[in-house]
């Protein structure tokens, strides 16, 4: 999708930037992966499709690129993460050329497998909001990742160049993923049992944290020695503490991209926790991270006249 546009623009941009961070096809079918394009002859590797889940904003923080002028392909989530990084002083706006891409959502390989069995790339054709499987046209909605089905912002809020046309619908309204509401409806005990069961699987590999574009602490609380917050033993309670702790650190900063969930090698629906926190912030403070760069994040703002009613 949009490949010709992306490649043509990248060739132009490479005159002024050190590299273009985008996606190339991966080494396995149904996978695209982050790709740093630094030579004009390599732009043919650049692709965009429904498997470009990795949030590229994460790569702006790696030491090599941090101070350099870089172009970056940005879906809505990537652009929101970049906005937060700029606001938090992690990257400089003037160093970035943001190539925005309206996003119809990322496809979950496992959902494809469940429906179609062992997958053959040649059986599929991909379109913006649909797919063709052996000649049959199907809506893409049911095959999207859970966080994409819950998405409220398919269009990048910040960009220098925009590829393609803006998405004209709100994915959440169209695909109606109500996992969060469902979890709200069940009893506290059931909810606890659900999360306890999920976090028991956690092996604390930190793939969630390391793929998150906004988890950039030099020393994560999970590995801190002084104070020693977290045991090295991946017990269910310590795992829960890690994930709850991480969600709270992300409160009002998480852009709901689902990178954590996508990265998890043991299939924990990790994004439910931070996304629930963002729902609460949306409801209570009318705030969403990375949408409006000038709007103050409510939980990161100090005011002397704060009524502080919650402190008893």
């Amino acid at each position: 999708m949009y490949e010709e546009e992306i490649r043509a623009l990248s060739v132009k941009l490479l005159d002024e930037v050190e590299g273009v961070i985008g996606y190339s096809w991966g080494t396995l079918p149904f996978r695209a992966r982050p790709f740093l394009c630094q030579k004009k002859e390599d732009v043919t590797h650049l692709v965009f499709n429904h498997f470009c889940g990795s949030n590229l904003a994460r790569y702006l923080l790696s030491g090599e690129l941090k101070e350099k002028k870089i172009a970056i392909l940005a879906k809505a989530c990537d652009a929101r993460a970049i906005t937060v990084l700029i606001r938090e002083g992690q990257v400089k706006r003037e160093n970035l050329v943001i190539v925005g891409i309206p996003c119809y959502g990322m496809v979950d390989r496992k959902k494809l497998e469940e429906r179609f069995g062992p997958l053959q790339p040649q059986d599929f054709e991909w379109h913006l909001d649909s797919l063709t499987f052996k000649g049959e046209n199907l809506s893409i909605g049911p095959f999207l990742e859970a966080t994409c089905q819950r998405c409220l912002h398919p269009n990048p809020p910040l960009y220098d160049h925009l590829i393609g046309q803006e998405v004209t619908y709100i994915p959440r309204k169209r695909w109606n993923n109500d996992a969060l509401t469902k979890l709200d409806m069940v009893s506290r005990e059931e909810r606890w049992a659900f999360f306890a069961g999920e976090f028991e699987k956690c092996i604390r590999c930190y793939a969630c944290r390391n793929s998150c574009p906004l988890c950039y602490c030099k020393e994560c609380f999970a590995e801190m020695q002084r104070p020693y917050w977290l045991s090295g033993a991946a017990t269910p309670s310590e795992n829960l503490f890690f994930h709850v702790g991480r969600s709270l650190h992300m409160a009002g900063r998480c852009v709901e991209c689902g990178a954590c969930e996508r990265a998890c090698p043991v299939d924990i629906p990790i994004a439910l926790l931070p996304c629930k926190v963002e729902e609460l912030i949306r409801g209570n403070f009318d705030f969403e991270a990375g949408i409006d760069p000038d709007k103050e994040p409510p939980l990161l703002t100090y005011r002397e006249n704060d009524p502080g009613e919650f402190i008893r």
């Binding site: 991966g26 080494t27 396995l28 996978r31 695209a32 992966r33 982050p34 790709f35 740093l36 990795s54 994460r58 790696s62 030491g63 090599e64 092996i203 604390r204 590999c205 930190y206 793939a207 944290r209 390391n210 793929s211 590995e223 045991s231 090295g232 033993a233 991946a234 017990t235 990178a259 996508r262 990265a263 090698p265 043991v266």
Partner: protein, 325 residues
């Protein structure tokens, strides 16, 4: 070596009747589900049974004004049988046993868990798409010659080394069948990509300082998913928990984490992703072969399957092999 043929019905029934005795790895389940009953306990990787994610190695406490330390016995496990693929068996027998059962220092907890875990190697009759075992000297029918081995053959299951008649008496394998089996095994091996050149470990080591490592490591986000789910990765941490009473824990650790080599002085000999990725590749494909004579990778491909950014060890190794000529 005892060899026999068992019908799939008998095989399934024998396993179902003693299902508490059996475990199976997720990958073996993927290949053999049609031959096995539902409901066996499925594990991610064999190492979690013998080298668990975390375990206490000794306790300490302050009582009656003095400190005491005492070891934590893992207890004697009753014998269990683990169905696993040839690459996973190789990871246990060559690499994990090689590290934890080295003659000079035997890890007692590992030994206690390992001695009652019997491996049943399930030959790969279809080859999962992410594997590359032949590159690192394995093959889809690799076995150590002593462990139980199972392979579908002419509508039945061919079984080796079933000394305790776990799967029943079966019927003997005649000379013609043996020949067919051997031919098929040779054909299968011949159809696979050839192993890495024998001087690959030396050559790789000689290219420690190459700029290519920066390029190869760019994509990696330095999480520990690959190392934690790798069947051979055995690196661990020892940490102390508790103040006046507590225990010393042995937990999985990963060369991907900055803290892995961080000195108390805050100096870090592997300060960035480049050094850490290089360490992972070198340890598996150069250091272990140079030291111990075996690769630290069995080509199972689980790391390729689960990597969040498709950082691909097969691609890397093949690229290096090409680069080194």
């Amino acid at each position: 070596m005892a060899k026999k043929l068992v019908t799939p019905e008998v095989f399934r029934k024998k396993v179902a009747d003693q299902s508490d005795l059996f475990l199976i790895t997720e990958r073996a389940q993927g290949v053999y589900h049609e031959f096995l009953p539902q409901g066996l306990r499925v594990i991610k990787t064999p190492k979690e049974l013998i080298f668990p994610e975390w375990e206490g190695v000794y306790r300490f406490s302050f009582q009656d004004r003095s400190w005491k330390v005492w070891e934590i016995e893992t207890g004697d496990f009753s014998p269990r049988f683990l169905f696993l693929l040839p690459c996973e068996a190789r990871a246990v027998i060559e690499v994990l046993d090689g590290n934890f059962l080295q003659k000079d220092y035997i890890d007692k907890n590992y030994w206690q868990r390992r001695k009652n875990l019997h491996l049943i190697v399930l030959g790969c009759y279809t080859i999962p798409k992410t594997c590359f075992c032949s590159l690192v000297g394995g093959n889809p029918l690799w076995r150590d010659g002593r462990s139980l081995f199972v392979l579908p053959f002419q509508g039945e299951l061919y079984v080796e080394n079933d000394e305790t008649m776990l799967f029943g008496e079966g019927k003997s394998v005649d000379a013609r069948e043996e020949e067919t089996l051997a031919t098929r095994e040779e054909e299968l091996k011949a159809s696979l990509p050839p192993p890495l050149p024998s001087d690959f470990p030396q050559k790789l080591y000689a290219h420690f300082d190459e700029g290519i490592w920066k390029d190869l490591s760019w994509r990696c986000i330095n999480c520990g998913a690959c190392t934690f789910l790798c069947p051979t990765c055995y690196c661990f941490d020892l940490s102390v928990e508790g103040r006046l009473r507590g225990l010393t824990l042995k937990t999985w650790d990963s060369c991907m984490f900055p803290r892995f080599t961080l000195h108390a002085s805050s100096h870090n000999p592997r300060p960035t992703g480049k050094e850490r990725v290089r360490q992972r590749v070198m340890h598996k494909f150069s250091y272990l072969p140079l030291r111990e004579g075996y690769y630290g990778c069995v080509g199972c491909g689980i790391c390729r399957e689960i990597c969040p950014v498709n950082w691909d060890i097969r691609e890397t190794v093949e690229r290096m092999a090409k680069y080194l000529g």
